[in-house]
Symmetry: C2
Subunit: 119 residues, 2 copies
C-alpha cells in the first residue's frame, strides 16, 4: 500500500499521530476534524496514500467506494443519518485542498446552507 512518510494522514493511519477515530476497516479510517466547522465534522480517508481524485484509478476503486460505506456508518454512529449530512472532497487549488492525501469531509448536525458561496 502506497505511503508518504511526510503525510499527516498517513501518520494517523499508522497510529503515529493521535486522532479521535470513529470508524476503521481494512481500507479506510474516519476521525474527528481537529478544527470542526459544524457540530459533526468527520474526515474519512483511504489508508492508501492517494493525493487527490486526479489520481483515482481502478486500483483505488474499492477504497474510494468504501469511503461512502464508512460515511453511512459514521452518519449513523454520530446521529446525523436521518437529519442529513454533506460529503465533500476538495481537489487542488480552486477547492482549497490543504492536505495532499484524499479525504472526504462529513458535515452534519445543522442545516448546511448553499453548496457554493454566491460570488
Amino acid at each position: 500500500m502506497a505511503r508518504d512518510p511526510n503525510c499527516v494522514f498517513c501518520k494517523i493511519v499508522a497510529g503515529e499521530i493521535p486522532a479521535k477515530k470513529v470508524y476503521e476497516d481494512d481500507l479506510v479510517v474516519a476521525f474527528h476534524d481537529i478544527n470542526p466547522r459544524t457540530p459533526v465534522h468527520i474526515l474519512i480517508v483511504p489508508k492508501e496514500h492517494i493525493v487527490s481524485a486526479n489520481d483515482a484509478t481502478e486500483a483505488h476503486r474499492d477504497a474510494l467506494g468504501q469511503l461512502f460505506i464508512a460515511a453511512r456508518q459514521v452518519a449513523e454512529s454520530t446521529g446525523v443519518a436521518k437529519t442529513g449530512y454533506r460529503l465533500l472532497v476538495n481537489n487542488g487549488p480552486h477547492a482549497g485542498q490543504e492536505v495532499m492525501h484524499l479525504h472526504m469531509h462529513l458535515f452534519g448536525g445543522q442545516p448546511l446552507g448553499p453548496m457554493v458561496m454566491p460570488r
Copy 2:
C-alpha cells in the same frame, strides 16, 4: 440493477430524458447540471438507483468508487483537473438533497470559497 420509474436521474440513465452527457461507462454517467452554480458544474450518478449514502452497502462499492474515477476523467475533459475542483454529495434534509438518487456534484472553474457557510 435497481431502478425507480419515477426518478429523474434513472430516466436520464435510461435516455428517456435528455441530458448533456460528458462521460459514461457501465457503472456511472456524468452530465451538465441544468442550473450550474459554477463555470463547470457536472453531476456524476451511479446508474443503479441508490437513494443516498444511507443506502451504501458493499454491493454498491464498485459503482461508488467509480464516481471518483469518472470525476478524474470529467475534470480532465472540462479543463479543471489542474486548477482544482470540489466533489460534493448531499444526503438528506440538512444537506438540502433535492433528487433522491445519489449524485456527486463536481464544481470547478473558479475559486470555490469556504466549505460551509458561516452561520
